[in-house]
């Protein structure tokens, strides 16, 4: 069978950084091709090249055996290649229907809102969003729904090749499943699909073949059936990765460091109460919309609350804004690093020192030496390339960005570290490092609270897990009986209504 789409020895560099150093890639009609690799391996760059978003590359690109080069995405789209990029690409100020018919040859030149709404319905049903009203603004939808709308738009182009770049990275269990089913159905209809993801389980569930990228170089595509998680990880990293989660041994009884009392963040059904102990990693488990993330934000003063207080350091208070929390030594990483985790346009060095300008300056005058050394040892701790400290954070790939977003908080040497989705869109390699790091920080006596929708992560990293379901605090699970199954049960079906 001749490949539908074939790239050979594709190179792409950004100034000094070589994102792609000679990649070969192909996909057959009707197959689901998994594209995996560490952060920064070049996955997004590659799919941007394929979909015409990036034509600054060198190398050959063949579609149905004919050489092509797309000057802009529209061309690729006409040739039947559609992409849902890693970053959401919906216009929040516009309605769902308008968003579905935004760009591409399927968009009617003349149309009023009504006709667009009518046209959009079938695609929404296709992705299981028949419930929502196409005329509402997308900013009213949940993140999950937004990703599904994104897919609906993709389908509306009726493409031959669909590219999904980490579509489930921001989604909870149920939404992810919707997407995976979507992909299955499409491939049954003979569409070719390029599926980029860091979630091993997904990859093996749906892909026929897998292409592995390792820092900018591609490997022979393998049939998914011939691989298992470990062998795939080995391919990605180039070496065997043991258990990526650090060892946990039961902690002795310690006086609690902070007590959350009747904290009622917006979006939760009722107030929550729990304690945080020094030296432990506490996990808040819950699907999207369970409110676990909101709790972290509230503790960090980044979200409004109806009531509540933090008993911490002998006093009882509630930060009104992040600054107050920071002054108390509470660090917080939101789930969206690009939005409020990083200064993409500024050097990594400045990103790292941002929370603690006071510590590197005397009477408002800062010492660049102090900053440099601060940045260097944080970078070393988090294995960020020390020579890239001068570059803009924006050029880093997801994993490294996450390391910087997290690492910057070490500069205030925090007592309490709150991390929402610590490894969203982060590859196994970087994940392992981040887990080690968090564990090490805990060992140094900090209290770490993570909220995660990734079941693997939430069941293997923390010492203690508190579960949440639709804005309610459900239960607590100790190290002893901390299994994925137990947790899943509590966060998906606490009132045993459905029998799994």
């Amino acid at each position: 069978m001749t490949p539908l789409l074939k790239l050979s020895s594709v190179k792409r560099s950004y100034g000094a950084i070589h994102a792609l150093k000679g990649v070969d890639f192909e996909i057959l009609p009707g197959e689901v091709m998994g594209l995996v690799g560490e952060n920064g391996a070049g996955k997004s760059t590659l799919v941007k090249v394929i979909s015409g978003f990036d034509n600054g590359f060198t190398g050959d690109y063949e579609l149905n055996g004919a050489p092509v080069r797309f000057s802009h995405p529209g061309k690729a789209e006409q040739a039947g290649i559609a992409i849902a990029q890693q970053e959401l690409s919906l216009i929040p100020t516009m309605s769902v229907a308008e968003n579905i018919f935004m760009a591409g040859h399927n968009v009617p030149t003349f149309a009023n809102k009504q006709s667009l709404i009518k046209k959009s319905r079938p695609y929404l049903e296709e992705v299981g969003l028949e419930a929502i009203d196409p005329s509402v603004g997308v900013d009213r939808l949940s993140v999950g729904e937004q990703h599904l709308v994104e897919v609906a738009r993709l389908i509306a182009h009726d493409p031959q090749v669909l590219i999904l770049d980490e579509p489930t990275a921001a989604l909870g269990e149920s939404d992810s499943i919707r997407i995976l089913n979507m992909v299955k159905r499409l491939s049954e209809r003979g569409k070719s699909i390029i599926y980029v993801s860091h979630r091993m389980d997904e990859i093996f569930k749906i892909t026929d073949r897998i292409t592995v990228l390792r820092d900018g170089e591609s490997q022979e595509p393998r049939a998914a059936s011939t691989l298992d998680v470990n062998s795939l990880v080995e391919l990605m990293l180039g070496f065997e990765l043991g258990n990526m989660f650090p060892e946990r041994e039961p902690l002795g009884e310690t006086a609690s460091l902070m007590n959350i009392r009747d904290l009622w963040p917006d979006g939760l059904l009722e107030s929550v109460n729990f304690d945080v102990h020094p030296g432990e990693i506490l996990g808040l488990a819950g699907q999207l919309g369970s409110g676990s993330g909101e709790i972290l934000a509230a503790i960090a003063g980044a979200r409004k609350t109806r009531s509540g207080a933090l008993e911490y350091g002998g006093e009882s208070f509630l930060p009104k804004n992040p600054k107050q929390a920071i002054d108390k030594g509470i660090a917080y990483c939101s789930e969206d690093r690009k939005h409020d985790g990083l200064f993409l346009g500024r050097p990594i060095r400045e990103n790292v020192s941002a929370p603690s300008l006071g510590s590197i300056s005397k009477m408002g005058v800062m010492s660049h030496k102090a900053e440099a050394s601060l940045a260097t040892d944080i970078a070393e701790k988090f294995t960020v390339d020390v020579n890239r400290l001068g570059q803009d954070a924006g050029v880093l790939s997801g994993g490294n960005q996450q390391k910087v977003a997290l690492g910057k908080w070490l500069s205030i040497n925090p007592k309490i570290i709150l991390v929402n989705e610590p490894t969203r869109g982060v590859d196994v390699g970087a994940r392992a490092e981040i887990y080690q790091k968090l564990r090490a920080l805990a060992a140094d006596g900090a209290a770490i609270v993570i909220a995660s929708t990734d079941i693997q992560e939430i069941s293997n990293l923390p010492d203690r897990v508190i579960t949440f379901y639709r804005g309610m605090q459900i239960g607590e699970i100790g190290l002893a009986d901390m299994t994925a199954a137990n947790i899943l049960k509590q966060i998906t079906d606490p009132f045993n209504e459905t029998n799994l």
Binding site: S13, Y14, G15, T45, K48, F53, D54, G56, F57, T58, A302, N321, P322, K323, I326, D327, Y332, S334, H339, D340, G341, L342, F343, L344, G345, R346, E350, S353, A354, P355, L357, G358, S361, G364, V365, M366, H368, D392, G394, V395, K408
Partner: protein, 342 residues
Amino acid sequence: MNTDIAVGQTAPNTPGWLARLVDRYSWLVVILVALFLVTFFYGMVTAPNFLTLFNFKTIIRDAALVGIMAVGLTFVTLSGNFFLLSMKETAALAIIAFATAMSQGYGFELAFLFTMAVAVIAGGLQGILIGLGGNPIVVTLGAAGLFFGVASWWSDNLVVSFRRPHGAEWLGSGSFLGLPNITVAFIIIAVVAELVLRYTNFGRQVYLIGANRAAGKATGHENFSMAIKTCIIASACSAFVAIAFSAQVSSAHVNYFSSSFGSSGDMTILVIATVMVAGNSIMGGFGSSLRSSLGAVFISTVDNMMVLHGFNSGPRVLAVGLMIVFSIIVFALVRRGSRVQE
């Protein structure tokens, strides 16, 4: 979005440094810049009396007033709060305040403080509205109207004058090491501003908040106070310009800064052009006040060159406009070549 220029366009047998330049910026930029440099230096050498110390001083002095305002405005722009459309009206208000105080016979110091106080209030009010999330353009457009109206009403549209000798003369017409004090002031302000931006926490906060307001908030740097501070800095700079000018001509009038004719065009626009011409990012987070100062010098150099070549205002407006557009394009290309665009 990556819009970077592909490398590997470097033609063979080019000298190493050129190759590296092209590698970094692409042919287009290199050629444009070369083109510019050639014309510029041609203009320089052919312009009679251009390359004299005296003329050099003239250029800096000519750049001073706009330059000071531009430096002030740079803080607003870098901090991601766009810019103030009320620069010249603030100056108008300030100059009336100063001259009135002077003519009432409160010496220079009091008049200066009084004027600065007025400027701080003017800037602060705008800053508060902007900090609360008001759209800078609308806020400052409205403020402009108010300030000008108040100034006109206050001065009853008359020229407010105060007789020499007066305590402000040293500023207006004094000189230091052969440089007019206004020039000296410009240089000092430019240097101080740059140092503040580079070596103080405040300066860093300006950049951080400008680069990403949300992340700034998350790391404990609020834009509310930043907007107020930067707006105050900007209007204080306009006020200083007003004071210096009034000190020089020992009088004041609301219209001193809105001369609609001549190559100077609209003062506010000229100031904004000055900030932009040197490649500061309008979205904030990237640039420096040094760029603005140089921008001011650049514009007045071009203008000066034209005068020395004996052109009158028409062609000069054309030339200055052309140069501004040109350098804006070049800077845009350079940044495309070297930085990531979010």
